[in-house]
Symmetry: none
Subunit: 194 residues, 4 copies
């Protein structure tokens, strides 16, 4: 019934260490130690480091899914659901173990210096877009909103949209792109408009 206590300890320890150090820098020995088991024991439950990592990722993803569906399911109407969704995004990001940072954050593989540089770079790019928003506000094209927040929302929308559509098949790409861009701009300009 207890779904092997040892297995769970290993999974939990690996989640912490992979999150903190990334796939390559997290050592099996450390994970074993953090889980309070011997190195060999991990291999009684998982075939390899990769399998451990993948199992952990899928576990987290499924947990998230459950929480998402449950929490959003509790909301009755359309608007509340979307609002709940955005709020959950904040909670998940705050929790520091959302999947992206686990799959992708081999951040820690690199120097603080590079990370700092990249953060700084992103800050400048966002500032650049915020400036455009300012222009829109001054020019009377849009309402007087916080330009940086508007920039983030717009950029995030454009980013996920393009990222997703770029993965589509060649023949669907063009039409999806046009439709997507049109919708993005409609939403943005009507949404921000006076």
């Amino acid at each position: 019934m207890q779904e092997s206590n040892t297995r769970q300890k290993i999974l939990l320890a690996s989640r912490m260490l992979f999150a903190e150090k990334g796939f390559h820098k997290a050592k099996m020995e450390e994970i074993a130690e953090a889980a309070g088991v011997g190195k060999g024991t991990i291999y009684d439950y998982f075939k390899s480091k990769k399998e451990l990592f993948e199992t952990m990722i899928k576990d987290i993803a499924n947990e998230f899914k459950s929480v998402f569906i449950e929490k959003i399911g509790e909301e009755r109407d359309f608007e509340s659901k979307l609002k709940k969704l955005a709020e959950l995004k904040f909670e998940i990001n705050k929790s520091h173990i959302y999947i992206e940072s686990l799959v992708f954050k081999n951040l820690s593989s690199f120097d603080e210096e590079l990370l700092e540089w990249l953060k700084d770079f992103r800050e400048k790019m966002i500032g650049f877009i915020a400036d455009i928003m300012c222009e829109g506000i001054k020019g009377g094209h849009i309402k007087d909103v916080n330009p940086k927040l508007a920039a983030l929302i717009y950029l995030g929308g454009a980013h996920l949209l393009s990222h997703y559509i770029c993965e589509q098949e060649k023949d669907e790409y063009e039409s999806m792109k046009n439709e997507g861009l049109e919708l993005l701009h409609e939403i943005t300009f009507r949404g921000l408009g006076k």
Copy 2:
């Protein structure tokens, strides 16, 4: 005048290989071969694999910045600028060498299987949100738009917003979060509203 041809060859080859295989799987020997130079030559120009990687990242980032600023600078009015911005996002993603995939794409470190699973997972999450959009359309709360595209735009906006705000200092966090969520919803509901 030519800013060291060899250095550029190495940088270009490393860009290709790091993009294709990620930091850890790209071997110095391969990079040297791809650049058409000897292994040791790389070390005449870069102190270490890390330095090579960082230099390449920063180079790309700066190239992007130049393109962004130039292309968007060519546009005259506010709306055109934002539209150009979204289009550039598509071009960059298409080009497969945008920074995120370079810093984070230790994707290739993992099995196709996991990547597929994650893609599938994301697809389901987006489908889940698209379903909410459908509800909104059927319920007459929003216009009859492509629900998946709307889901992507909303989710992307929520994601970058929360991601950015979660990195802020504790005392700024709460007010930014509230202001951000409010703006996100105002844009979304007005933008999508009939």
Copy 3:
């Protein structure tokens, strides 16, 4: 109880190989093979090649010290002690693992040819000094002893004396040098005198 058998095997194998080939020419792989362990195992016991080397040197030095103190401690009177000391010097040199040859013998880094040349050179220098001894014997200044052996004893005394004193502080140097030279000559001329 057994002070890690593996560690001892590694230490012993490294002693053999460092003695035979010097620090640089002795390869970790060879040492591992000679010790009958895997390459990685050495690193479970020693942080680096340097640490292995240093540990080995200190071990040998301490063994020597023990033997010296024990053997000489067994002798009762002053003369026997000094005589024992000189005998031990022979045994140690015969054993081929005395520290000097381990720390300094990067001999093996070089061609037999250079070594031969240097040996030959030294032979000539000793012959040169032996000739001076011959002169002393013929001139009736000293007893009729083996001139080469006398040369070796004198030269060795002069060498260690100067070597040691040259390492002293500037202000002690002059007086030590004078006292040392005077003593050396008093011993030599009285010791060799008729």
Copy 4:
């Protein structure tokens, strides 16, 4: 007639660098730089690093030989010659480029820490022998001399003697050893005796 100026510059630079850093740590590039020539130029004069090293060693040895023979040749009588010899030993050691330190001093390959440890170790061994000398003085067996200096002279004599004899053929060894030890002790006890 000028025996190639470039060749001499290289030889001089290599002497400095090999003396300072030892064979392995002295880099050809540094030597070239110190000599004020290009890396490739060294190879116009010397076939390899080893050949450069060997040439340099032999040059120094021959210089020494010349100085030795000349200076000692200037002295007229037996005693003065030996005294001059010991003095030259000091000068040579002081000059820091005597052959031993060049062939053997891969000292610099190792940590200051090990060198310090070995120096300390030697100091203790010499102290140990000096204590025996003290015993001899107190017991009235020898004159009241500086015990440490006496220890150095005795130990040096024993060292070179044993070192040299240990290199001899097996059948000569025993008789040389006995004769050598007897002479060493006769010199020492008569030389130090009251």
